[in-house]
Symmetry: C2
Subunit: 438 residues, 2 copies
């Protein structure tokens, strides 16, 4: 099966070995490489007999009709039943891997191919959705398009998001138009309802591998928030300005992050800074302005909020006021970019995934059910956010994890074996069929 | 007198007020704006009857002949006497002011104009030199061209310096060629000797203003070093990677700088970070690589070296090995970009400046010598580096400081009053004439 390598013609980058697939990816959302893979996806999906629609967030919906489409609906409205969807994303990190997101979409396409080749009829329509800018690596709100679909993020806010890099960044709207993926359907759970959303994804963490498990049933996700913090001081000469006369925005930010990181570790909260910009950026000018991202995660939504409100905000304010003994004050402002509370997935969907995983593994183990049971990990909590976190608010949702080598992700050497990918795809298809039957 | 505002047509930027001169400057070395002001300078100098030569570092030498040129030389070689030079620079910080460097060059031109208009003959030739890339803001070695002249920096190293911004930076050599200022003279104290080098400069610090002084006689400069430090860790997902499995290059760098800053303050060493780059620069990817500048200054060359070797290097190594309890190791490498030991200026030149300052001020104070004496500050030590620091190694050198409002420099609002500028120019010219006479 060509689940993952079909795709790497579009946006391969960061080669790390001689093998054909030994490169990472750089396919930021709505770039030319993203357009190319989207065009490819649309062509494939149409080739499999799907109807393809694009909504106003650029999400691509590829739907294969169900038997129920031609039956009168229960409520007599004539509307067809909402589809069961396999969703994930095709955008990557700037130095990302070949599996994150891509696997879920490719597995969905593969599932549609199997349905077609074996002429399997489903009751409901079944489809694949490619969500736009899941990573948030280009436009700094992750899962922004499923967020709009769920009614959690206003369309206008999403459309006007500016890309991270560059001062004169392009907006999502501009880039959607430029690559021709500003669709005419409304991105909303009311206009484009789903019966369920299943997402196959690599774990991106170390648990499955460490425990020798092959498939994870994901019960929910941890909470996280993203902020852009801006510290403003005053530019001055590094050689002639004594400490006491400095309002050094860089050193203020340095102390804030220092505090956040170590207090985070004490309190079991993950703190990361991935973007950090310094203005004007000259060796002998004390920075007058600094802008950085804060990515904060915790298993508990409340704990996360308390960490930010009770610890970080007051401490950042006091550091800004007085970076060092007697230095001049800076100011600090926060902007919340992403707020993703901890989310539980649907019990029924998790059950469908669990039974499907057991059935696939039991077949592999020639019916050795005990062995099969030992290969499944239940009740996993995702450390990363996924579009499923948003869909879970509006329709039954669950996820399937497969192992990541060394727990590594957001890195060109991210790796999941071919068998793990294929097995995940089988579990995905069975979960969809099982849900459809019930 | 139009000492400073003639120039702001080339590279004015960062407007901060409505007035004609209420903008800062962005005229990085060897940019189009720098070429434009150089062309203007060459035209002006030729208009004043100077010979203009450009050396292979792009330094522009504008020389007005002296009476001695037509006399047989003492050693019978027929070579003309080396000129007395007024030097400074026309490049600015990316968000710089209108006086830093520019004042010294404009005052030099003005001095040549006075010599011409009043038909004053000097014994030695007298001239102005515009040094290239003094700031080090674009190509990260400050005073690089006077360093080459003094034989302290190899020409090849200077030519191959890459600009700070951008991954695929242009080299000095490429940019010198592009703007047509790669001259054919050899930049060297042997080929282009000077009898003396006088530099008028704004203080860029708070001392003159605070003490109510009008002119400073600069006796020397403090020591400083610039480094580029690179920390390499491993990219990973911010949400799924526990602290213990991270090799977080950002947090390692953050801790290093935190240590450097606070230890620096304890030991009376100035530590600043003006450039900080994060790779790959995505909110939810733990940075795998970070590069930053360190600007470290102290009045003592030895103290500075000890601070770096005994404190920073070992501590940075130990932080890299273990950013936090049980996290994965990063690596750290240092590159020394600038090394400017503390420098004493020539006693005779300082004497010429002192006497000239007193004479100018005495005239202003209608002969009230006591008042004049109270307006001069002796034995100043420059916090910033200047081209004079390099020339002092090869010829008698001194500097003249005039006050900076609020001690502010490397900031668009840098300000020195017109009277202070004019007074400085007068002291400069008198110092040159005095040196020439003795
Ligand atoms: N799966 C994934 O990497 N999602 C991006 C959002 C996040 O940072 O958790
Ligand atoms: N005068 C001045 O700003 N020189 C630049 C070199 C330094 O950073 O001290």
């Amino acid at each position: 099966k060509n689940i993952h390598d079909t795709c790497s013609q579009f946006g391969a980058a960061h080669r790390w070995g001689p093998g054909e697939n030994e490169t990472g990816m750089n396919r930021l959302a709505l770039t030319d490489a993203d357009k190319a893979v989207r065009d490819w996806f649309v062509k494939e999906a149409k080739g499999l007999g799907c109807e393809v629609e694009v909504d106003d967030m650029g999400n691509i919906w590829a739907i294969r009709g169900g038997v129920s489409d031609s039956r009168p609906t229960q409520d007599g409205s004539g509307k067809r039943l909402p589809p069961v969807i396999m969703g994930s994303h095709l955008d990557t990190q700037p130095r990302g891997g070949r599996y994150d997101g891509v696997l879920g979409v490719m597995a969905g396409l593969e599932a549609l191919r199997v349905l077609k080749e074996r002429d399997i009829k489903t009751w409901r329509p079944v489809g694949v959705v490619c969500w736009t800018n899941e990573e948030g690596a280009r436009f700094p709100v992750s899962m922004v398009s499923s967020g709009v679909w769920a009614g959690e993020i206003p369309l206008g806010k999403a459309h006007s998001l500016k890309e991270v890099a560059g001062q004169e960044g392009k907006t999502m709207m501009e880039e959607l138009e430029r690559i021709g993926y500003l669709g005419d359907k409304k991105c909303s759970y009311e206009e484009m309802p789903m019966a369920a959303h299943f997402e196959l994804h690599i774990e991106q963490g170390p648990v499955l591998e460490a425990k020798g498990k092959k498939v994870g049933v994901v019960r929910g996700s941890q909470a996280y928030k993203w902020f852009t913090v801006e510290v403003v001081g005053k530019e001055a000469h590094t050689g002639t300005t004594p400490y006491a006369q400095r309002a050094d925005a860089f050193m203020a930010a340095n102390s804030m992050i220092h505090y956040a990181r170590w207090t985070g570790e004490e309190q079991d909260v993950l703190v990361s800074v991935g973007v950090f910009q310094v203005f004007p950026g000259s060796v002998n000018t004390i920075p007058g302005r600094v802008k950085f991202s804060l990515d904060i995660r915790s298993s508990s939504t409340d704990k996360l909020a308390q960490f930010v409100e009770r610890h970080l905000r007051p401490k950042f304010d006091s550091i800004a006021k007085n970076v060092g003994a007697n230095s001049q004050p800076c100011s600090v402002t926060w902007q919340e970019d992403t707020n993703s509370p901890a989310q539980l997935f649907d019990e029924g969907c998790c059950q469908a995934v669990k039974v499907s995983a057991l059935s696939v593994l039991a077949a592999e183990c020639q019916g050795n059910m005990e062995k099969a049971v030992g290969l499944v990990k239940y009740n996993m909590v995702s450390g990363a956010g996924h579009d499923s976190v948003h869909t879970a608010k509006r329709c039954p949702t669950s996820m399937i994890f497969v192992p990541s080598k060394g727990g590594l992700s957001h890195h060109p050497e991210e790796f999941t074996s071919e068998e793990d990918c294929v097995r995940g795809a089988q579990v995905l298809l069975e979960s969809v069929l099982r849900f459809d039957r019930e």
